[in-house]
Every structure is written in C-alpha cells, then in structure tokens.
Symmetry: C2
Subunit: 396 residues, 2 copies
C-alpha cells in the first residue's frame, strides 16, 4: 500500500502497516490509528519525541486495534497526535501539524489531528482517535467528517496512553454515516436501545456558538425535526458553560498530572507551546478545586443522565466556531478552546455518546452538528445519525 | 357523625355515610366522595337533577371507594360536582356552588368542587374527586390543598361516571402531604421507582402564569432546588400552550359526546350556563379535528414521556392564576379556563401523575405549585411531595 501523504497525517518514518487478521465486516477497508494506541513492535510516540525516546516498543497491540484487524480492516499506519493528547488545535511542533484538507489555512483540530486529516484527505476509509475533552469531535467538526465519542467505558482503552482516565474514550472518524456505524458495529457492546426520543435543543450551546455557526446549523436542526418532531428547548447548564469548563479543566488537569506527572518530573521533556503551559498548570492543581470539580461532575450527571435515559437526544453545534486560522494568535486560540470545551464537556463529564455530523460550511470552513444520547445508547445513536445523514443530504 | 356543612360541600339531602369495612392504614380518618362515584343503594347525581332522575340507585359501590372503606376510612358523605364533571369553576346552579373556604369571594374550582371544599373546611380528612382536564388539580390549587391526579390507568375508574374516558382519572385532596401519600399507599400500584431526577422548569407554564403568581411561586422553586439541584429550564411545548389546549379541548369534547351524547339526546336535560354550551359544542365536534388532536396527543406523549422516564420531574404553577372571583364575567372565566387547561393538558394528554402543593397565596387567594413525574412514578412523586412540603414549611 503506497499512500501519498500530502497532508502530513501519518507519523514520519516507517508506516507500521498491518494486513487484516481475518475477513469480516470491515474487509476491503483501510484505517489509520492515532499514535497513542500500541502496535506490537512499534514505539508509541504519544506525539512527543521524549516520550518516544523513553519508551520501548510495545509488546502487544491494543485490543481495539486487534478487533478492527480481526474484522477485516487493513491498518495503513499510525497518525500524528497532539503531544500527550493535551490540546485541541492539532498542532505538533515536533512531527509537523497535519494539514486540514477541508480548510488548508486552518488548524485540523486535535488531539486526533492525523487521524482526521487522513480520513478527510481520503488516505484511509476510517481512523481511530481518542477523545478526552473533544479530541475526536473537534477535529471531525473542523475537517468536515463524521466522528463519534462513544459512551464512557463502552470500549476498552487497554494499550492506549492515558491522559485523564475517567474522561478518556476512544473514537473514530469516517466520511459516511454508514461507515461510522459499521466500525461501531464491530467495536460497541450489543445494546441497541435508546435514542428514539425527542430532540432536546441545548440552548446554552446554541447561544455559545458564533451567530453565523448557529444560523448555518439551524436549518439542519429544522430538517431533523421532520424525523423526531419539534425540538424541545432545554437550558441544561443554568450555571453557565464557563462554569462547566472551569470544573472540567481542573478535573482533567488533576487526572493528567496523576497519569503523566511522574514521567514529566523524571524526564523533564521538551513540550511545544500550549502543552508546556498545560502541564505546568496541571502540576499545581489545587486538590480542593479538583474535589469541587468532581462534585460538580456528579451533580451534572445526576441532572443530565435521567433526562436522556428514556431516549431523548441532545442537539447542538459540535464546536462554537470553525477551526481557527493557522495565523491566529495564542490568545484567540485560548478563547476558542475555552468556549469549545464548555460544550464538549457536557458529553465528557456525563459519559454520553456523541456523534458529530458534517452538516455545514461557514466562510469556507466546516462546522459539525452534534447528537448526544444517553449513556450506553451508542448503537441507537449511530442509527439515528444514519437517518439524519439521509434527511440532511449527507453521505449515508 | 354530624357535620355542620357551612360551605355547602355535600350533596343536599341524606348524607350517605358508611363506616369502615375493616381497620387499616386509614383507620380514624373520614373522607368524602365526589358524587360521580357509585355508592351502592344511592343514586349518583353526577351533579345534574335530570341525570339523577333518569338513573336508578347504584347496585354496587365503586371499587376505589370500597378500597378506602376496607383500609379503615369512614365515608362521611357525597360531595357536589360540576354537572357531568364538565367545568372548572366549580359552579353548580342546581345544588349550589360550594364556598371556597380559603377565599370565600372566589370560586372553589371544579369539577370536584365539593370534595375540595369539604377538605379545605376541615369537614373530612381527605376526599375523592376525579380529574379529566384539571378537576382535582385546579380546585386543590384554588382551595389551598394538596391534590393528586395519578398516572393514567393506575387506579380503576369502575363505578365512576365517565366524561372523557381516555383522559379521566380519579384523584384526591388532603391538607397534608403525608395524608395525600397515605391515601396513595392504599390506592396505587406498588412501584416506587422514579421521580428521583432533576427538576425541569417548564418555561411555557411559568410564562403563561400571571406575573404575580409566577413571582410568588418562584421562591418555592428555589427552595426545591436545595433538594434536587438547579432546575433545568425546558420549553416543552414549543408550538404553544394554546395549541395544546385546542387539541385537548377537541379530544375531550369528542370523547364526552361519545360517552354522554346519547343520554343528552334522549333526555334533553337542563344544564346550567357553560355546561350547556360545552355539550352543544361537543355535539358538533369535527371528526377530522379530533383525529388531528389525537395525533398531536401521541406526538406529545412521544416527546414528553422519554424525558421523564429516567426520573426527571416537571415543575410549574398548577394554575396560571388564583380562583376567579364569584363576580367575574363569563368572558373572563372562559379566558381563565383556556389559559388553565393549556397547562393542565400537559399531564392530562401524557397520562402523567401530578401533585399540586399549596405553596403560596396571591392577593388573599391560594395558588399551587405542581410536580409532575413520569407515568407510573406516582408513589415516588408522593414521596417527593412530602420532602418538598418539609422544605417549604407546608403541612407534612
């Protein structure tokens, strides 16, 4: 397999291809894997040369990757990630930031930047990423792809590098709803219940979005109402998305330092801009603040999960704005990050499955619309995504 | 038992007392029964002398009444109802409109007017009513009582005169949350699941309420947030409460004519004002409109039930305004009726249990706050009502 990787999606160096282990649902399809999942015999770089330098080749392949190979998928290579998966733009100063094939003057989104770029550039049929605070959903939105963050705990993360274990999930990208679903058929538990209820329009996330993004996505919501009836408006986070972000950030930071701090202290690695600052902040997380954040998280779960238990589906813009320009300033990127994570934290904190649909383009850049279902309703959510794609004129 | 019925709650004439059939949960308590439930040996008047004249004494007692007698309750008598239960003010020109003990210059509310008045005047401990479009919830709100409309189908209506069978439920009044619950313990199926989720503040019902009513009830909602966390705002009826009312009215009218039209045609009874007009309108219900109304009802159920399935609880003013003054004009009463039934139709159309709490007084007249749970969650809702009463300083 010879892929002309014009967008810099794959890791530099040898490609780590692997043929299928059997034939199955994914036979004939190629896929890429974010380089935080172990492939036996290869060093997992986790996006950082010092991590690569201080780790041996993996002795086993992550079960999620083996499952895809067993289902007939052909592994085409390992893709770039933001260092230690701790960033949303997709920038990687060591291995190069992948180009966003859908908007080359903008960031691809991250941390699963290479996987998104590989799918958007049609280098592979689908790709595996991971999502802690939006790392699949945001690059999917930025690159004009279908993407899913499954329910917390639905799919094993064995053999994957951790960032914030209680928030980490795998995820994947595809260019069609049916392929997104086919991968889910292989990876997800069997339950197909749920997600057959009304649409709940989360008002805060619509208000939080740039007006042009909300205006562009609103007609899609109206079409979805043909499937599910009039959307019900809900103010799910009355304390404000910035409050939600504040608690999410501190919980994520505390877990990231618990998972990775010992390595950072021992190795004192070189980090690119942003990542260095985030680990410096994580190092000094106030345990009291983290405790308050965990308490808030339980409260939010107790609020949100019952509302979705009967099959209702949240709907809102995946990201409040399109991908930032590559030339944007750090302060602007930070503002985007904060506004974005206030939204992505809803599913993140509550452990809910979220699918983003490549619904629209604003000023030449893609923006996604998200559907979020109750925990464990992943398969039903994917089925809804297929119906939604059909009615929206997207690739089914 | 000698009761000085200064408020005209009971039917004129013999009192139809009945001692308990056994001792139990309700031993030592007296109760009254709306005169649309059969008591063996007595003519059920259904609030109208022509109905009484054309019906024989009941051969059996309604099971719900027998159940209360078996549980130790002492039946103190039959109470007045609006004619054929088809009205919300509580007016009865034939037997006299009961006085509202909590606001004597205002209507008691109906159709279960006598039962509400009997409890409010402390003539009995609790009383049985029935509710199609608000006939327990509204007199409870108007008279400052706890009242419940249980889930559709939860309690048998055998031996009760029908108004609109798919909408009719029994219901009861009490002056304390624990007594409301004790009656429920006797009458309701055993399931205690549900109603442990977040509060959903139904925005349309708050906006629909008179500003002084909403302002008076809002502090109570804030206290309830201490029990259940921040209330989530929800726009549950985006097509508008007046649309909901329109569909409810036509579905109710069609069923009322199907249930009672043959008798009306045969007997050509004398009706008081309002009731006559409603039956005249019911007679000419457009079947196409009723079909649209039934379709809307199914849509509303599909929208609302999943949102409550996981234990969420709707909260809103039981009635948008206090009881109308006895001196109010018909047009004003009609406007109140329409605004009120747009709210009561939520639980009515969806078959949900609703408890109203006597939370506040506006201009000397009581107004209730309603908690509405998922279908079948009646016992859990009553338990919540007890917790709510405690935190609100109401009689537990």
């Amino acid at each position: 397999m010879d892929i002309a990787d014009d967008v810099g999606a794959f890791l530099p160096g040898p490609r780590f291809e692997h043929p299928p282990l059997a034939s199955g649902r994914l036979s004939g399809l190629t896929f890429a894997v974010k380089d935080l999942f172990d492939i036996a015999g290869a060093v997992t770089t986790f996006g950082n040369p010092d991590w690569a330098r201080t780790h041996k080749p993996a002795s086993a392949t992550a079960p999620i990757v083996s499952t895809l190979l067993q289902a007939g998928g052909h592994l085409a290579g390992k893709t770039k990630t933001v260092e230690l998966a701790y960033g949303l733009t997709g920038e990687n100063v060591w291995y190069g930031t992948p180009i966003n094939p859908a908007a080359p003057d903008r960031f691809p989104g991250g941390s699963s930047c290479g996987s998104a770029a590989a799918v958007a550039a049609q280098l592979v049929d689908f790709a595996l990423g991971s999502d802690t605070g939006g790392s699949v959903r945001i690059p999917a939105s930025y690159c004009g792809l279908f993407g899913i963050r499954p329910s917390a705990g639905a799919i094993s993360l064995a053999g994957a590098c951790p960032l914030a274990p209680s928030l980490d999930t795998p995820g994947w990208f595809a260019r069609s709803a049916s392929l997104l679903t086919a991968v889910g058929d292989v990876l997800l538990p069997a339950n197909r219940q749920g997600a057959d209820g009304p649409l709940l329009r989360v008002e805060e996330a619509w208000v939080n979005a740039q007006p042009e993004v909300a205006d562009t996505l609103r007609p899609a919501l109206e079409k979805l109402e043909q499937l599910r009836g009039r959307a019900v408006g809900i103010r799910l986070v009355p304390e404000g998305l910035s409050t939600l972000y504040k608690h999410f950030r501190v919980v994520q930071a505390e877990e990231a330092w618990a998972a990775l701090g010992a390595w950072v202290e021992t190795v004192t690695p070189s980090f690119g801009p942003g990542v260095a600052e985030r680990f410096a902040a994580a190092r000094t997380t106030n345990p009291a603040d983290a405790g308050i954040g965990r308490g808030y998280r339980r409260m939010l779960q107790a609020r949100v999960r019952p509302i979705l238990a009967g099959g209702a589906v949240l709907v809102y813009p995946t990201s409040p704005c399109p991908a930032p320009l590559l030339t944007s300033r750090q302060a602007e990127q930070d503002a985007v990050r904060e506004a974005t994570m206030g939204v992505t934290a809803i599913a993140g904190f509550c452990g809910l499955p979220e699918v983003t649909l490549p619904v629209a383009v604003v000023g030449g850049a893609p923006v996604g619309l998200s559907l979020v279902a109750g925990q464990g309703q992943d398969r039903a959510l994917l089925a809804l995504a297929c119906d939604a794609a059909a009615i929206l004129g997207l690739p089914v």
